[in-house]
């Protein structure tokens, strides 16, 4: 029986822990679930490759802020390609069904949790992207404003003000009883 590589175990553990929040952020940066998964995979592989250039031993686990930044860059690259593809497909009367691979952003086991999470996802999607991405990074990505500013290439003040605007808009739109302390 072959022994598992400790580096692979570390990687699996890290991805199991942080993968869901990384994918949630990737979903904010892309149009479809498939694109979000592609972007996250691309970002991880890129970072892994760049780490490999500087190492002699086991592959290092990338820093979380770096991964968020890599996801954003990968999404921008994909967006450019997708824009060209969509234009081509529209010109050939191909109808793109963006909701065909829809998945839930938040997981929950009970009916109450399911309703709550569905409401949250629906209201998040109504927010402008610039507010939404800051909220996702701050609340579920557990990033500081400095790290958010770095990942999104904005100033810390801008990140903080977008966070506050986004939170106020979200609070007004969500039912208070579902999101009370």
């Amino acid at each position: 029986m072959a022994e598992s590589d400790p580096a692979d175990d570390t990687w699996s553990h890290w991805f199991h822990e942080y993968g869901p929040r990384l994918l949630l952020f990737a979903r904010q940066q892309t149009r479809t679930e498939a694109d979000a998964q592609d972007v996250l995979q691309d970002a991880i592989v890129r970072l892994w490759k760049s780490n490999d250039k500087h190492r002699d031993s086991a592959p290092a686990i990338p820093d979380l802020p770096l991964v968020y930044r890599a996801i954003r860059h990968a999404a921008i690259d994909l967006g450019r390609k997708t824009d060209r593809r969509v234009r081509r497909e529209q010109s050939s009367e191909y109808v793109l069904d963006e909701n065909r691979d829809k998945v839930e952003w938040f997981g929950g086991s009970s009916l109450e949790e399911g309703e709550r999470n569905a409401a949250l996802e629906a209201e998040l999607q109504k927010l402008p992207e610039k507010f939404r991405e800051v909220l996702v990074l701050k609340i579920w990505g557990e990033q500081t404003f400095a790290q958010i500013a770095d990942a999104l290439a904005i100033s810390q003040n801008t990140a903080a003000s977008r966070y506050r605007y986004g939170m106020e808009a979200l609070r007004k739109s969500l039912k208070p009883e579902q999101f009370s302390p």
Partner: protein, 169 residues
């Protein structure tokens, strides 16, 4: 919403946890990472296979650069038919052979006036009333190497002040 309310709302939102990764996604990313590692290894192997060839390439590059520098800086040789071996040489032909241009030689020198500014009436050192005019020139030069046909052109800006005595009645 004050800071306390903001924090409470944030905590309430955080109770919603991002959904788990889709089945097989972790394995897919891991496979992509390994595949990429494999590609990188193959590239390194291919480079290693040509390691013996590198010193030769470097030596060839150095030789080419040295040869180019020698060609560029070497003075031009006199034409082969200017003085044939064993032929009697007259004084005139000696003069001509001396005057045959070798290497770089200037073929053009000139200047253009870019701007002129009248500084007005001044008293020059000896107390003569004069008008001072500042001219801005660009001096243009061209040098040619007749052996190689190479040409160098360059321009140098310069400024001159010309003092013209003013006639007074």
């Amino acid at each position: 919403m004050d800071d306390r309310e903001l924090q409470q709302f944030e905590d309430a939102l955080r109770r919603s946890r991002p959904s788990r990764l889709p089945a097989g996604f972790s394995e897919r990313v891991d496979a992509a990472r390994r595949k990429d590692d494999g590609k990188a290894d193959n590239i390194i192997d291919a480079r290693d296979a040509f390691q013996w060839f590198r010193p030769l390439l470097n030596a060839a590059a150095v030789a080419a650069v040295v040869f180019g520098l020698i060609l560029f800086f070497s003075p031009g040789q006199p034409p082969a038919d200017s003085v044939a071996e064993g032929e009697s040489v007259t004084n005139q032909s000696v003069e001509e052979s001396v005057q045959v241009p070798r290497g770089w030689q200037p073929v053009k020198a000139g200047n253009t006036v870019e701007d002129a500014h009248d500084d007005g009436i001044i008293y020059s050192g000896d107390g003569v009333l004069s008008r001072s005019i500042r001219y801005k020139f660009t001096d243009n030069y061209r040098w040619v190497n007749p052996e190689t046909g190479a040409t160098i052109e360059f321009s140098i800006p310069h400024e001159s002040r010309i003092v013209v005595p003013v006639e007074t009645d």
